[in-house]
């Protein structure tokens, strides 16, 4: 892959992957590590990329599995797993309190529910793609999404403007 193409791949995807990894790992430093590792894996395996899925889906799959690996190592580095709005990164663009609450509640979801929620809602993957990405049954994806929706108590539905 040409340098310029790889730079484009990184620049187009890294913000979204960084936010995904942050929501998954609940730790900014770990999320940055995960994104770096994701792109390194992608760079090394690009020649083997078969194009069965979009590059975006392929990258997301690498990222979420990198997070899964890191998750098991995260236990010792964290300071506190309580998630409150104050724990989130500094504010930038305007947003509603409902949006902030949604972020916090997603971060509080159990890991297995959190990962399907991120893939389905943030990355727009369908249940089949999620099942393939996580190497689980499609019925498990449906079940976890259903449980995640219940836990989020309808927070995903409806939208209010900032």
């Amino acid at each position: 892959m040409e340098d310029s193409a790889f730079e484009e791949l990184v620049s187009q995807n890294q913000d979204k992957l960084l936010r995904t990894c942050y929501l998954y790992l609940r730790d900014r430093q770990l999320a940055e590590d995960a994104v770096q590792e994701t792109f390194l894996k992608a760079y090394r395996s690009l020649p083997d990329f078969r194009g069965d899925s979009s590059q975006k889906t392929w990258l997301t799959r690498i990222a979420i599995n990198t997070c899964r690996d890191l998750y098991r190592s995260e236990w010792f580095r964290h300071l506190d797993r309580r998630v409150t709005p104050e724990d989130l990164p500094e504010r930038g663009a305007s947003f509603s309190s409902r949006e902030e609450s949604l972020i916090v509640e997603v971060m509080r979801l159990p890991r297995k529910l959190r990962e399907v929620t991120l893939l389905y809602y943030y990355h727009g993957m369908d249940e089949r793609e999620i099942a393939e990405a996580l190497d689980i049954a499609r019925s498990s994806v449906s079940d976890r999404l259903s449980r995640a929706r219940k836990k989020l108590k309808g927070m995903i539905e409806g939208r209010d403007e900032a």
């Binding site: 340098d3 790889f6 730079e7 791949l9 990184v10 620049s11 890294q14 913000d15 960084l18 936010r19 942050y22 929501l23 999320a31 590590d33 994104v35 770096q36 590792e37 792109f39 390194l40 760079y43 090394r44 890191l70 098991r72 190592s73 236990w75 010792f76 580095r77 964290h78 300071l79 506190d80 797993r81 309580r82 989130l88 990164p89 500094e90 504010r91 930038g92 663009a93 947003f95 409902r98 949006e99 902030e100 949604l102 972020i103 159990p110 890991r111 389905y120 809602y121 943030y122 727009g124 689980i136 049954a137 019925s139 498990s140 079940d143 995903i156 539905e157 409806g158 939208r159 900032a162």
Partner: protein, 245 residues
């Protein structure tokens, strides 16, 4: 249509609230350089093979090994067949003392400390103060499978049958300032034995005796109540020993 609207709202919420979370503009260059150098990703030392093995070992053997005295450093780290298999010098095992623990829901007892080339190993026994609650180590990831079943030693049991009406207190213990390390845990009928080995401790402090600050977090998995507390342990002067056999 509704799903698309929900997705759009979700994406908008994330991108708005986390708008300051942006990537490194030089990341592509860094990756190429790193790949050219054929090096590993520049990441902090993460989980060791020992931890993966230990967690798997603990989960699959929780029933079979319930009778073993895993709270003992000699038993846990020194025996053939255990993951660490260290040369344990019994005289070098010291008794740490918890001088401060302000948590309300757990009883924590510090049992032993041992300093070797592997790091500083500390053992604790963790139990719930109330009989209708049980402790579960955070790293154990007690999560039912798709059919709602937990698996131990090849046997499955439903989460509800396993906890028998008790509330689950998911706990974690770590040192501050944060150090890398690994941990083992083992359940018994009274609670859990938790053993951590920390890398990179200040050797001068260990040699002359010191106090160590830890954090304990407990989350009640049924009620969602969370308790974060501090714990201070006092270590007598220690002598560094050889590592693995």
């Amino acid at each position: 249509m509704r799903e698309e609207a929900e997705r759009k709202a979700f994406q908008q919420a994330v991108d708005r609230r986390l708008s300051t979370l942006t990537g490194d503009p030089r990341l592509a260059l860094k990756i190429r350089v790193q790949a050219l150098q054929e090096g590993e990703p520049k990441m902090k030392k993460k989980i060791s093979f020992a931890l993966v093995s230990a967690l798997a070992l603990v989960l699959i053997s929780a029933v079979a090994l319930a009778a073993a005295n895993w709270a003992s450093i000699r038993e846990f780290l020194g025996q053939e067949g255990t993951v660490a298999r260290m040369n344990i010098v019994e005289e070098a095992i010291v008794k740490p003392e918890i001088t401060v623990y302000d948590g309300k829901v757990l009883d924590i007892q510090a049992n032993e400390a041992y300093w070797s080339e592997e790091g500083l190993s500390l053992t604790f026994h963790v139990a719930a103060k109330e009989a209708d609650k049980m402790v579960v180590y955070y790293g154990g990831e007690i999560e039912p499978d798709e059919n709602g079943m937990l698996w131990f030693d090849g046997e499955s049991i439903s989460l509800e049958d396993w906890r028998q009406g008790r509330e689950m207190l998911q706990y974690d213990i770590w040192v501050e300032p944060t150090l890398e390390g690994w941990a083992y845990f083992q359940r018994d009928e009274t609670g859990e034995s938790y053993i951590m080995t920390l890398f990179g401790c200040d050797e001068k402090l260990l040699a002359k005796g010191c106090e160590m600050q830890l954090r304990v977090r407990v989350e009640n998995m049924q009620t969602g109540d969370v308790e974060g507390s501090g714990m201070t342990i006092k270590l007598p002067p220690m002598t560094k020993q050889e590592g693995r056999k």
